[in-house]
């Protein structure tokens, strides 16, 4: 029984979207239930995704603008084409947090994706399940600004403490905004 | 989180330090005698692993990616036509090319109808990846075997056209020119045209977004590549 069916009958209605692409399986789950689902995936006897490979943050703002731009341009050219139902609903959540999981016993990989909208950048931290999630979560916070509730010490990881922006967001210019590190003697203890 | 306590058990010979130390001494002495005999040989290159740098130099690979040079063809005409493909292919964006028409008198000096009026490479930014050499349709720019690139001032590190041509002359004089590059066999059999360039040319012309570093002449070049891209 393929991985897809196993995951489906384990999680069932929680799965918002399943994508099978180039042999990788990605499931999308609601943000609020991420810890519960990851715990289920970790302990389920058939699946046992007990190895957290990585946590990836993605900022989809540029992707949506491009889609919007594409939708406007063809609409302008071929008026005759049947009009797609353009739903103007609330803009899709801007950020994505993707957990890469690996089942050591069966060598199968799974990606669990949650969408985080810009107005409440709060996600439950999964350092409870894996202590290895400590730094990746700090890095996602450092690069995207997504806060992780329950994280032991949520501080910037790669940037210095006083860094004003979140560099991996799409609106942050490539050359940076010229922040200079003012060398305060950062106390650690 | 109790750390697993590791029990150490040693054989008697390991327990007393001296036996293993003597074995180690024997080994280093073997090296010492070998190198001592070697170092008494004549000539700068004595110990096999040591190159006495200024006197005797290590042989450099013919495909070594060192300092750039603008090549001339057999009749001494410049191959570069100033198309700027190398500037666009460069990950470090350190090449700036300005295209121009050859003046009336020196048509013979240039292989193509147009030539590069100004060609500068910022050696401080260059990462020597060799993509410019791959991207050049005319095989005009090549990375030579020159690796002594130290300069006294920062702006001496910006190689202008004369410096690159001089590099070529120097390499030609020393006979260190590269052998012509064999085309890479591609799966699916048909050998792409152009013996000189690699079958896969990473031309990264991105019509839509105007490139920040593109100078004005490159703009019309974009139109030319625009039309070219339509037919492929």
């Amino acid at each position: 029984m393929g991985l897809k069916e196993k995951v489906q009958d384990l999680l069932g209605n929680d799965i918002l979207d399943i994508v099978e692409y180039r042999g990788d399986l990605t499931i999308e789950v609601p943000k609020s239930k991420n810890v519960k689902i990851l715990k289920a995936l970790k302990e389920a006897e058939g699946l046992q995704f007990d190895f957290l490979v990585d946590i990836v943050g993605v900022d989809n703002s540029a992707l949506y603008e491009k889609k919007k731009a594409k939708k406007k341009k063809p609409k302008g050219d071929e008026e005759a084409e049947e009009k797609e139902p353009v739903e103007e609903g609330p803009p899709p959540p801007r950020f994505e947090v993707i957990y890469l999981l690996l089942a050591l016993s069966t060598n199968e990989r799974l990606r669990v994706k949650i969408r985080v909208s810009e107005d409440d950048l709060e996600v439950d931290s999964i350092t409870g399940l894996w202590r290895g999630a400590n730094w990746p979560e700090r890095e996602v916070y450092d690069m995207f600004g997504i806060r992780f509730k329950g994280h032991p010490n949520l501080k910037r990881l790669l940037m210095w403490e006083g860094f004003p922006a979140h560099p991996l967001r799409k609106d942050y210019p490539l050359e940076g905004q010229g922040e200079q590190r003012d060398f305060d003697d950062c106390r650690f203890f | 989180m109790a750390k697993p306590v590791v029990k150490k058990e040693y054989t008697f010979l390991e327990r007393i330090y001296l036996w293993e130390i003597v074995k180690g001494l024997k080994l280093t002495f073997k090296h010492f005698t070998f190198n001592f005999k070697e170092s008494l040989k004549k000539g700068p290159h004595t110990v096999p692993t040591c190159w006495q740098y200024p006197e005797d130099r290590r042989p450099i690979a013919p495909v070594f990616r060192g300092a750039h040079m603008l090549c001339l063809d057999d009749e001494g005409r410049e191959l570069c036509v100033g198309c700027g493909m190398c500037a666009r292919a460069c990950p470090a964006k350190c090449i700036t090319v300005k295209r121009g028409k050859p003046a009336e008198g020196e048509e013979g000096k240039y292989a193509g109808k147009t030539m590069s009026a100004e060609f500068t490479i910022d050696m401080l930014r260059c990462i020597f990846c060799g993509f410019c050499e791959e991207a050049c349709p005319k095989g005009a720019i090549q990375l030579g075997q020159e690796y002594e690139l130290a300069e006294y001032t920062m702006d001496a590190c910006i190689y202008d056209k004369e410096r690159l041509l001089a590099n070529f002359q120097k390499a030609k004089a020393e006979g260190k020119l590269k052998p012509p590059k064999k085309p890479v066999p591609v799966a699916g059999g048909d050998k792409k045209a152009g013996a000189k360039k690699v079958a896969k040319k990473p031309v990264a012309t991105d019509g839509k977004k105007s490139k920040k570093a593109a100078s004005k002449p490159q703009a019309e070049e974009k139109k030319a590549s625009e039309t070219k891209r339509e037919e492929t």
């Binding site: - | 001494l25 096999p48 692993t49």
Partner: protein, 346 residues
């Protein structure tokens, strides 16, 4: 030529000789380690790089002498002096040859034939600790103070087995004066063995050589200046000639300990079965004894270099463990056996 002129000549000779050997030692160390590591070592300054120590000396002299701003000025400058001084002066009691008869006057090739030469050397060995500790504390740097702490613990705790193994030698020869010890080591012992100290004190010699490495801060005991752990240990903040004094003192210390090893255990200037004084003239015998003594010392100096590039470094608590739990009991056992043997044989 009355006595004080001869003494002055001897002192000047020994002083320059020790300096020369110490500088030569830096060259031997760099070339020797290079050869052992499939390299070539310095060969640009002079033939085979022989002027390299000279170049290092000039470099150290001409470098700017920086005293860190928060360092304790007096202790900072006193450190290297207190480290190099005992190393140089310990050589006064070591006989570097037999005697030289020059136009009827007999000159003993030893600066000062003190009858408690032994204790003098052991005492000066302990003085070197002050140099390291003051240097480490004075330079107001965390790594230096760590280096200083490590060296005090190591040197003091290795002073005990060092002294005990020397005591066993004193038991065998019955005298403290180094000259008499070296004179006695003539002839054969138990028939076929040369009458050297090592055959009387095999375990004593092993203890002595291990503690000598600890005294000289040489690998595997170079904890006080372990580059990879505490940057450069006690001489992290030191610059030009102050650093030179520290490094110089270390090499002179090594030379003194090597000379001591030869005097006590390897029959100072005696060849195994040949009595040189019979068939050599008075002057040539003196020089020959000096050369033999020097060649033996050179071997032990080479041994210092040889071991340094073969063996990894101890950890701090292992050095202590080895010192107290292994070497001191062994030294006591050695002392006991020696006493027993003397009691039985006498």
């Amino acid at each position: 030529m009355d006595n004080w002129v001869i003494a002055l000549i001897k002192v000047v000779f020994i002083w320059t000789w020790t300096l020369l050997i110490a500088t030569l030692m830096t060259w031997v160390e760099r070339r020797g380690s290079a050869m052992m590591q499939d390299r070539l070592g310095p060969n640009r300054a002079g033939p085979f790089g022989l002027f390299q120590p000279l170049a290092d000396g000039i470099k150290l002299f001409t470098k700017e002498d920086i005293i860190p701003e928060k360092a304790h000025k007096i202790l900072f400058s006193l450190g290297p002096i207190l480290f190099a001084l005992p190393a140089f002066s310990a050589y006064a009691v070591i006989p570097f040859g037999d005697k030289l008869i020059v136009n009827g006057k007999e000159i003993i090739l030893q600066v000062a034939d003190v009858n408690v030469g032994f204790l003098y050397v052991v005492a000066l060995g302990a003085m070197a600790v002050y140099g390291i500790v003051l240097g480490g504390w004075g330079s107001n740097n965390k790594y230096s103070i760590l280096g200083g702490l490590r060296s005090t613990a190591q040197l003091i705790s290795y002073e005990v087995p060092f002294g005990l193994s020397l005591l066993a030698v004193v038991l065998v020869y019955g005298t403290f004066s180094l000259r008499e010890i070296s004179l006695v080591q003539q002839g054969t012992f138990l028939g076929f063995l040369p009458n050297w100290g090592i055959f009387k004190q095999p375990l004593g010699f092993i203890l002595f050589i291990v503690t000598a490495y600890a005294e000289a801060n040489r690998v595997p005991f170079d904890l006080p200046e372990a580059e990879s752990e505490i940057v450069a240990g006690y001489h992290t903040e030191y610059g030009s000639m102050r650093l030179g004094l520290y490094l110089f003192g270390e090499y002179v210390n090594m030379y003194t300990l090597a000379a001591l090893m030869v005097t006590l255990y390897f029959g100072a200037w005696h060849l195994p079965y040949i009595d040189m004084s019979k068939f050599l003239g008075p002057v040539s015998y003196g020089i020959a004894s000096f050369l033999v003594f020097f060649l033996k010392t050179a071997f032990f100096l080479w041994l210092f270099v040889w071991v340094r590039w073969t063996v990894p470094r101890f950890r701090y608590d292992q050095v202590m463990g080895l010192g107290w739990k292994a070497l001191i009991p062994l030294a006591l056992v050695n002392l006991f056996i020696t006493a027993l043997c003397i009691q039985l044989t006498v």
